[in-house]
């Protein structure tokens, strides 16, 4: 068996990649894609600790995270549609109404 530390390290790597994606991208849809990546990193960590601790509660929490991810994608994409209809643009650099 692969030791669980490898899975947790992989989870950390995917989490950091998602974080870099949120920081770097300028398209709002790409920001949401990076958020999905970070949620999946958390899922890997949950299941890895389940494997270590001989429990299944983490998998139940992964189930809830899947639910939250579906809700987040629905609401976030609805917001993106509303922003696009309002401004004809999905660039984060031009969404500066709340600045100053």
């Amino acid at each position: 068996m692969v030791p669980y530390e490898y899975y947790v390290a992989l989870s950390g790597l995917l989490m950091v990649l998602g974080l870099i994606g949120v920081a770097v991208r300028r398209n709002i849809i790409a920001l949401l894609l990076s958020t999905e990546l970070m949620l999946n990193a958390v899922n890997i960590a949950f299941v890895a600790f389940d494997m270590k601790l001989a429990d299944v509660s983490g998998q139940v929490f992964v189930f809830f995270i899947l639910t939250i991810a579906a809700a987040e994608a629905a609401v976030g994409l609805g917001l993106i549609m509303a922003i696009y209809r309002l401004r004809k643009d999905v660039d984060t650099e031009t969404l500066t109404e709340l600045k100053n």
């Binding site: 300028r26 999946n40 299941v47 890895a48 299944v56 139940v60 639910t67 994608a73 609401v75 999905v90």
Partner: protein, 176 residues
Amino acid sequence: MELTITAFWVFSALAVLSAVGVVFFRNIIYAVLSLISALVMISGLFFAMGAELIGALQIIIYAVAIVVFYVLVISTVPEFKGKAFESKYILISLPVGFLIFLELAFVSLYGAWKSNTGIFTPEVISEVSNVKAVATVLFTKYLFPFEVASLILLVAMIGSIIIGKKDHVIDEEAKS
């Protein structure tokens, strides 16, 4: 070499490559396609860890349902004009992200994880299946959060319908 070790290295390498693709592809369609690849590879990791139910749900919910959302929205929002990346943030976020990864890896390799172990040892899991174990815990101990999750989905559905509705529909209702 044992099969799970091979599966871990293959799936994790492909997952990390796909994640790099999600972050750094300029075209958003390619980013979504590599997100599908990353999700399928992570589901393979779940199967390798012995969480069959979560792996199957990962494919069904994430790689099919949520990605279809993204494809629909991308087909509605036309092409993205302008720069794909913010170059000054690349210079800042790559070293900072590497430092955060080192920190996470250090904690995960040398951290002392002290916790009570559960009752679902591999012997128990091989006797009752993984699906039965997860479902038993889900519908007894976590029954109330399960119901709250259904409420969250309902709220998200209503909210996304209201947010995504066209404005002139509201205006017509207000006039009449």
